[in-house]
């Protein structure tokens, strides 16, 4: 097993909760690592999370800094980034 590389960590705010995450990772990785596998609520109300990991499936959409429908797998975390999953914004 290889050790995780030591990288600088930054602060993001997920659903109102401040947390420290490794710099350079995607929003999808940050959410999954924080134990949050459900990113959005489907049109029928099911919980959904990332599938393709490469911007094709649109299942990992979250709200980033107030802008809805951002693909979490294509965005890198930034210091003080606000990330909201369907849990809080009721979509």
């Amino acid at each position: 097993m290889s050790a995780e590389p030591s990288v600088a960590s930054i602060d993001v705010v997920v659903n109102g909760q401040r947390m420290r995450v490794a710099d350079g990772i995607t929003v999808a990785a940050a959410l999954l690592n924080s134990g949050e596998p459900s990113f959005r609520s489907s049109v029928g109300g099911e919980v959904r999370g990332p599938v393709c990991g490469m911007g094709i499936c649109y299942e990992c959409r979250v709200t980033i800094d107030g802008i809805a429908h951002q693909r979490a797998c294509l965005r890198v975390v930034a210091n003080e980034m606000r990330i909201d999953t369907a849990r809080l914004n009721g979509r």
Binding site: A28, A29, S38, V43, E46, V51, G53
Partner: protein, 433 residues
């Protein structure tokens, strides 16, 4: 970027192996070249930049060569429309970091890669049911699989390398299940004898997770869970068993990303973009290289990319490159046969299984006598944000429906991107770029 509207001799869409090779060959001749890519850096999927360490091998070679070339590399850029200009050449529109982006080019090289084929089964929409390349992408972009119980299932040559990299990162790989029969997989593996480097690679992959069982003729029948997947049912058609897991990685091979080629009017047959020996499509000045012309792997993509880059920039293509491409294409054709999908996979989805994940359309809502166009009109299947990129292949497999024609935008775009003239001029005035 300094401007959002510029003129190039060659515009390359996609910075995977094919796009990188095309950009290098075009730019090294002095032609103004730009490569547009959705990712965070050049590499595409197979050479995806990893938070876990730098590139090695061919990836490092080609990415260094790209950096040394004078090609402009534009990351985080989605292309959603390409149209021919009356004045000649093409106008390529998209979004860069959420802002409108436009360039023009005399020739286009489409190196748009491939995506995974996903097939519906009960539970496939649960969180933590991800693709196989999907799991690899999540891992490389910083997702930790340490201590996670993982089942890898589906089909194709990606299963083993992804199992190996997940195991190496600390995941507990409970099972690797290949749906193809042992006999076909063995025949494919025997073919690797002719390529000693690939055989070595395969052996190393296997040793990385010797304790994992690799089952052939075995597939996932269903998955269960609540806020995420907890358990999968595995079957070989005769018996079933349940395996507890934290992640299920499942996909059934790769399918070409041919949307932009279709949009431009290029001939696409059986999902593959038709090209001649110089990678020219049936539309003048539009070239296509790599997986969109047929799934052939990284070596073929590099060769096709070079050919396309040379041809698109008006250079001659050597006989050596053309014959190398032909040889690699022949080898790739054996892979399709080895991993042919078994008919049982068509029967996994039940009446209540969702088939279109964007619009939550269930199988029972679809009439087998419809066309895919009728399904769109009556149920919105394929009309959501992914524009049928996921359910298109699933419905082709389940219902025999072929992909419809493509209209711009080929990706959901923000409304502002359509009024780009206004947006571009106002952002220049405001000094926003």
């Amino acid at each position: 970027m300094a401007d959002s509207r510029r003129e190039f001799d060659v515009v390359i869409v996609g910075a995977g192996p094919a796009g990188i090779a095309a950009a290098c060959r075009a730019a090294e001749s002095g032609r103004r070249s730009i490569v547009l890519d959705e990712g965070l850096g050049p590499g595409g999927q197979i050479w995806r930049p990893s938070v876990r360490g730098p590139h090695g091998g061919a990836a490092a070679h080609w990415i260094t060569r790209l950096e040394a070339s004078r090609a402009v590399v534009q990351r985080s850029t989605s292309v959603f429309d390409i149209r021919r200009r009356a004045a000649g050449g093409f106008l390529v529109s998209g979004e860069h970091d959420g802002r409108p982006f436009e360039v023009s080019g005399g020739a286009i090289v489409l190196a748009t890669g491939a995506r995974e084929r996903f097939l519906p089964f009960p539970g496939w929409t649960l969180p933590n049911v991800v693709g196989i390349g999907g799991a690899q992408a999540l891992l490389k972009s910083g997702t930790s699989f340490v201590g996670k119980r993982v089942v890898i299932a589906g089909s194709g040559p990606l299963l083993l390398p992804v199992a190996a990299s997940l195991a190496k990162s600390g995941a507990k790989v409970a099972l690797v299940a290949e749906q193809a029969a042992a006999s076909s997989v063995r025949k494919f593996a025997m073919g690797l004898w002719r390529r000693p480097a690939m055989l070595m690679q395969a052996a190393m992959l296997r040793s990385a997770f010797l304790t994992t069982s690799y089952a052939t003729g075995t597939w996932v029948a269903s998955a269960r869970g609540d806020s995420s997947v907890r358990e999968v049912t595995i079957t070989d058609g005769a018996s079933t068993r349940m395996i507890a897991c934290d992640y299920l990685c499942v996909a059934f091979g790769l399918i070409p990303n041919a949307e932009l080629a279709r949009l431009l009017g290029c001939e696409v047959e059986h999902g593959q973009v038709s090209v001649d020996a110089t990678q020219a499509t049936t539309i003048d000045d539009v070239y296509c290289a790599g997986e969109p012309t047929g799934i052939g792997g990284v070596d073929l993509s590099i060769v096709e990319g070079q050919i396309a880059g040379l041809a698109a920039s008006g250079q001659s293509v050597s006989e050596g490159l053309v014959s190398r491409a032909a040889r690699l294409r022949h080898e790739a054709s054996r892979m399709d046969a080895a991993f042919a999908l078994r008919p049982e996979l068509r029967t996994l989805a039940g009446p209540d299984t969702i088939v279109c994940r964007c619009e939550d359309v269930r199988l029972r809502e679809l009439n087998p006598r419809w066309t895919s166009r009728q399904a769109k009109l009556y149920t919105r299947a394929g009309m959501g944000p992914c524009q049928g990129r996921v359910c298109g292949a699933a419905l082709e497999h389940l219902m025999g429906w072929s992909s419809d024609s493509v209209r711009p935008p080929v990706q959901p775009a923000r409304l502002g991107s359509f009024i780009s003239d206004v947006a571009v001029s106002s952002s220049i005035e405001n000094g926003a770029h």
